[in-house]
C-alpha cells in the first residue's frame, strides 16, 4: 500500500463517516417531527433516482453544482476564498442571454461557441475585478466577492426592469430568444434516437460540466500554470523566491473561477429558461462552496459532491411534496447538516480514523522525527 492509496482511503472514510453522521442526525430530526426516517430516506432516493424525470432533475441540479464547485476549488488552490460564484454565475448568464438575443438568426453551431465564450468572459470579468483588487490593492477577496454578488444582483434588476425587459409585460424578463439559441435537452436527444423520456431541464451542459472538470484537473495538477498557482496558494514566499508573479496568478485564478461559474448561465439560460430572468442562479453559487469543500477541492470529488447535492435538491423537493410535516425548510436543514458535518467539521473524527487506518496498514510510508 503506498501513501497515496492510504490517503485516498482515509479521505473517503472520513467523508463517508461524516455524511453518515449528518444523515443520522437528520433522521432524528425527522423522527422528532413525527415522520418515519426510513420512509423519508426512501422517498428522497426514489425522488432522485426512482423514475426518469427525477433522474433528469437530479442531474440538471448536479450540472450547476459542478460549475460553481469548480469555481470555488480553482481559486482555493491559489488560497483565495471565492464567495462570488453566485454573482459570477449571474453575470455569466447575462453574457449568454445577450449573445442568444443578438445572434438568434445565426445557426446554432455559431451561437453555441460564442455563448460559451461570452459566459466565460462575463463571469471572468466579474471574478477578475475582485482578483485585481486583492492583488494590487490588498482588498480581501472574501469581502469584495460578497460585494460583487450584491452589485451583480442590483445590476441585473436594473437591466431587466429598465432595458432588457420585453415591452408590454410586467415581469422583468427578456423575450424568449429564437430556437437557434436553445441548447438541446436530453429528452430531445433521446427522442432523436427513438427513446421517449419525460421532458426535464437536463441538457447538454452536463457534458460541458464533465469536460470542464477534466480540464480543471489537468490544469491544476499537470500544467506549469497550475503549478505556479498552487505554489502561490501554498507558500507565497516560495512563489516570489521562484520568480512567480503572485499578483498575476491571483488575477488569473479569480478569472478562471469566474469563467467556470459563468457556465451556469449555459445550463440555465441556454439550456432551460431561453430568456434572461431574475435569480436563475439562486443559491447555486453558495452551495458550490460546500460542494467543493466536501469534494476536497478536487474535480473528481466535486463531481461526487455535486451529485450528492443534486440528490438532496431533487429528492428533498419530492420529500416536501410527499409529506405534510416536512416542508422545504426541513430539506434545507438536512442540507445544512451535510454542510456542517462534511464541510465545516470535516476533521471531527480525523485523528481516530487516521489512527485506525495507520493501525491497519502499519504505516509503510517513512516517517522522520521532528525536533
Amino acid at each position: 500500500m503506498n501513501e497515496k492509496t492510504v490517503n485516498l482511503l482515509l479521505v473517503t472514510l472520513i467523508t463517508t463517516v461524516n455524511l453518515l453522521l449528518a444523515f443520522i442526525i437528520s433522521g432524528f430530526v425527522i423522527w422528532s417531527v413525527g415522520e418515519d426516517p426510513w420512509f423519508a430516506l426512501k422517498t428522497m432516493l426514489y425522488g432522485a433516482f426512482g423514475y426518469d424525470e427525477g433522474i433528469g432533475y437530479t442531474l440538471y441540479y448536479t450540472t450547476n453544482f459542478i460549475f460553481t464547485g469548480l469555481a470555488f476549488a480553482i481559486a482555493f488552490h491559489c488560497r483565495l476564498f471565492n464567495i462570488g460564484a453566485e454573482g459570477q454565475a449571474y453575470i455569466g448568464g447575462l453574457g449568454v442571454g445577450l449573445i442568444c438575443l443578438w445572434l438568434e438568426d445565426l445557426p446554432f453551431a455559431v451561437i453555441l461557441p460564442t455563448a460559451i465564450a461570452a459566459s466565460a468572459l462575463f463571469g471572468a470579468v466579474w471574478g477578475a475585478i475582485p482578483g485585481y483588487l486583492q492583488a494590487k490593492r490588498g482588498s480581501h477577496v472574501v469581502i469584495t466577492t460578497i460585494m460583487f454578488n450584491f452589485i451583480a444582483s442590483v445590476l441585473m434588476v436594473y437591466l431587466l426592469v429598465n432595458i432588457l425587459i420585453k415591452p408590454g409585460q410586467m415581469s422583468p424578463e427578456t423575450r424568449e430568444f429564437g430556437e437557434n439559441g436553445w441548447l438541446p435537452q436530453m429528452h430531445e436527444l433521446f427522442g432523436w434516437i427513438g427513446i421517449q423520456i419525460t421532458p426535464t431541464p437536463l441538457n447538454l451542459s452536463l457534458f460541458w460540466a464533465f469536460i470542464s472538470a477534466f480540464f480543471v484537473w489537468r490544469y491544476i495538477w499537470h500544467t506549469r500554470w497550475g503549478f505556479e498557482m498552487r505554489t502561490v496558494g501554498a507558500n507565497e514566499s516560495a512563489a516570489i523566491y521562484a520568480g512567480i508573479n503572485v499578483d498575476r496568478n491571483i488575477i488569473i485564478a479569480m478569472s478562471l473561477a469566474g469563467a467556470l461559474a459563468g457556465f451556469v448561465g449555459i445550463n440555465e439560460i441556454m439550456g432551460f429558461n431561453h430568456r434572461i430572468l431574475l435569480n436563475f442562479q439562486f443559491g447555486y453559487g453558495f452551495t458550490g462552496i460546500a460542494v467543493s469543500l466536501i469534494g476536497r477541492n478536487h474535480p473528481f470529488g466535486i463531481l461526487l459532491a455535486s451529485l450528492l447535492f443534486g440528490i438532496l435538491y431533487q429528492g428533498g423537493a419530492e420529500l416536501a411534496f410527499e409529506t405534510q410535516t416536512i416542508d422545504r425548510h426541513m430539506v434545507v436543514l438536512i442540507q445544512g447538516l451535510v454542510i456542517l458535518f462534511a464541510g465545516a467539521l470535516e476533521n471531527l473524527f480525523r485523528p481516530q480514523l487516521q489512527a485506525l487506518v495507520h493501525s491497519i496498514f502499519k504505516s509503510s510510508s517513512p516517517v522522520t522525527a521532528h525536533g
Binding site: A238, G243, G371
Partner: protein, 508 residues
C-alpha cells in the same frame, strides 16, 4: 547529596514518531551539564517534559531527590526549575522590571509589587553580576542583555536549576563568552545549569559533564574533561565524521558579481543595507559574517531578485541592474544565479508539494519539463530521481511529500535543485541551519566542489565556524554596513567577533 535532577526511563511518542526512548539523565547539583545532540535528537522534547510543556508517556522525574509530577510550567517553577528559551519570551514595550514581575505580581496594586520587586531584583543583579538597568525598555536593549533579563526572570522565581536552550544562537562570540562567565558564576553560587546545544565548542568550553542524545535515545554520559570534540561528534552522528573541511587555497578568476553602493530599505522604509560595495570572483567563496538580523537577509534577497533596492547597482557578468530597473527572481535565475535561501521551509520549499515538484521550483518554465500544454511528468520523475541519488537525498523518492523529509534532506533537496543547474554564481544563506552533521559535511563538500569548478559562491551564515572553515575572503556586516574585509588566513574568531559587534578596527 541527591542529584539536582534525575530522570529515569522517560519515553515520549508523538504519533508515529518516538521522540524520547527510555531516556535517563542525572544532573549533579552545582554543575554545568551539557546536553548535546543533532536537531531532532530529542533534546528539546526532553527539556519540555522537564519543564512541564509535555507529559512523558512513561518514566519518572526526581528533583532534589523528590519524585514529582510536572504538569505545567508553573509546577516546574514551583520546584525550582527555570528555563531560558531559545526565542526570548519578553514584552518589548515593558521595562526590565515589569517583565521580571510579569506573572508573579504580589500585592493589590501593580505599583506595590513593582516596588517590592525592585529591591529584590537589584539585589539579585549584584549577587550574580548580572547588571541591567531595571527601568530600561526591552526594545532598547541589545540581545546579549535580553538574555540576562531572561536569566534574572528565572532567578527571581527562585530557580535553582536553570535550563538554557541553544542560548548562543543570536549572540556574537564575545557575548557568548559573557554568557559563559555568568553561567560559571551561577554554578559557583550553587545553581545547577543545564545547557542544551548542538555546538561542540560550547560543551568543551564550559560544561563539567555532558550527555549525548541521538535519535531520541541517550547514548552517553561523559565527564567533559575526559572526552574531546571528535568523540562527541562521533557519538552524536553514530559514525566517524570529519569536523574540518578539507580544501585547497583558492584561485580566483574573473569577476562575476559586482555590487556598488547598494542601498536597500524594507517595507517600513527602514534602511537595511547601507552603501554596500563588494565583488565576487569565479573560483572563490566569499563569506559574509554577522549576527543574524544585520542586513544579511535583505542583501541576499536583493541579489536574488526577491527584493527591490533603492540605490546603487548590481552587475552580473555583462548585465548591469540599476535601482528602479525591473528585475525579479526568475530574471536572476536566467542569468545564472542559484539561490539556496536562508529559510528552506518558508522560502526554499513548498512543504506540501512532493519532492519532484520542489525539484523544479523556479525552473518549472524550463522547456525540458514542459510540452505545449502539460508538464512532462515522466521526465520530471526521472530527472528528480537521478539527482536525488547524486545528491544523496534520502529517501530517494520523488513522490514523497517534502514535509516528510528530515531537515537535512530537505536542505539537500534545495541544494540539489540549485546546484544541479550549474549556476555561475551560487548564493547560499545559512546552508546548514537545522541540518545534521552528516548533511553538513556533504553540503560543505559540494560548495567547495563548486568553487573548485571555477564558480563563484557567496555564503552568508551566522555560524562563525562555518564562515571560517569555508570562506576564502570574509566580509563582516553590522547594522547593514560593511565593517571590514578579512582574508581567510588572517581571520580569527576574536577579530571577526569584534567587527560583528560593530567595533571597527583602529586604523593602524
Amino acid at each position: 547529596m541527591s542529584p539536582a535532577i534525575e530522570l529515569r526511563n522517560i519515553s515520549k511518542q508523538f504519533g508515529p514518531v518516538q521522540a524520547n526512548r527510555n531516556v535517563s539523565l542525572k544532573v549533579e547539583s552545582g554543575t554545568i551539564h551539557g546536553i548535546i545532540g543533532e536537531n531532532g535528537a530529542g533534546k528539546s522534547t526532553l527539556m519540555s517534559i522537564l519543564y512541564g510543556f509535555y507529559q512523558a508517556d512513561s518514566g519518572t522525574i526526581q528533583v532534589q531527590g523528590q519524585e514529582l509530577k510536572i504538569n505545567s510550567a508553573n509546577d516546574a517553577i514551583a520546584s525550582g526549575i527555570g528555563m531560558v528559551h531559545q526565542h526570548f519570551m519578553l514584552v518589548d514595550t515593558f521595562t526590565v522590571l515589569e517583565n521580571v514581575v510579569l506573572g508573579v505580581e504580589s500585592g493589590w496594586t501593580l505599583k506595590a509589587s513593582l516596588d517590592d520587586a525592585r529591591e529584590t531584583l537589584i539585589q539579585l543583579e549584584k549577587e550574580y553580576h548580572l547588571e541591567v538597568d531595571v527601568d530600561a525598555l526591552i526594545q532598547d536593549l541589545p540581545v546579549g542583555l535580553l538574555q540576562r533579563v531572561e536569566i534574572l526572570k528565572a532567578l527571581y522565581r527562585k530557580a535553582d536549576i536553570l535550563i538554557l536552550d541553544e542560548p548562543t544562537g543570536v549572540l556574537t562570540p564575545q557575548e557568548a563568552d559573557d554568557l559563559f562567565r555568568i553561567l560559571e558564576e551561577l554554578s559557583k553560587q550553587g545553581k545547577t545549569v543545564i545547557l542544551i546545544t548542538h555546538k561542540l565548542r560550547e560543551i568543551m568550553a564550559i560544561t563539567s559533564h555532558v550527555s549525548v542524545m541521538r535519535n531520541g535515545e541517550m547514548v552517553a554520559h561523559l565527564k567533559t574533561s575526559e572526552t574531546n570534540r571528535e568523540e562527541l561528534a562521533e557519538l552524536m552522528v553514530g559514525r566517524k565524521v570529519l569536523l574540518r573541511v578539507d580544501k585547497t587555497s583558492s584561485s580566483p578568476k574573473h569577476e562575476i558579481l559586482r555590487i556598488e553602493h547598494l542601498n536597500v530599505k524594507d517595507q517600513n522604509e527602514v534602511s537595511r543595507v547601507k552603501d554596500l560595495s563588494f565583488s565576487v570572483h569565479g573560483g572563490e567563496i566569499l563569506g559574509i559574517a554577522g549576527v543574524s538580523g544585520n542586513g544579511q537577509t535583505e542583501l541576499l534577497e536583493t541579489l536574488t531578485g526577491i527584493r527591490s533596492f533603492q540605490g546603487g547597482s548590481i552587475q552580473f557578468g555583462a548585465q548591469k541592474i540599476q535601482s528602479g530597473d525591473k528585475f525579479d527572481a526568475s530574471l536572476m535565475r536566467d542569468l545564472g544565479v542559484g539561490h539556496v535561501p536562508e529559510d528552506r521551509q518558508r522560502m526554499g520549499l513548498v512543504t506540501s508539494f512532493v519532492a519532484k515538484e520542489n525539484a523544479i521550483l523556479g525552473y518549472h518554465r524550463d522547456k525540458a519539463y514542459n510540452s505545449t500544454f502539460e508538464m512532462d511528468e515522466t521526465f520530471m520523475l526521472e530527472d528528480c530521481s537521478s539527482k536525488m541519488k547524486d545528491y544523496d537525498v534520502r529517501p530517494a523518492n520523488p513522490e514523497l511529500q517534502s514535509s516528510l523529509f528530515s531537515g537535512g534532506n530537505q536542505q539537500k533537496l534545495v541544494v540539489m535543485r540549485e546546484m544541479s543547474r550549474n549556476p555561475e554564481l551560487l548564493i547560499v544563506g545559512q546552508p546548514t541551519r537545522g541540518v545534521d552533521i552528516g548533511a553538513i559535511e556533504f553540503i560543505h563538500r559540494r560548495i567547495i566542489a563548486m568553487r573548485d569548478a571555477g564558480k563563484a559562491v557567496l555564503l552568508v551564515s551566522v555560524e562563525l565556524d562555518e564562515i571560517l572553515s569555508l570562506s576564502d575572503r570574509i566580509l563582516v556586516m553590522f547594522s547593514g554596513e560593511m565593517m571590514g574585509e578579512i582574508s581567510a588566513d588572517e581571520a580569527d574568531e576574536r577579530r571577526i567577533g569584534l567587527l560583528m559587534a560593530g567595533i571597527r578596527e583602529k586604523a593602524a
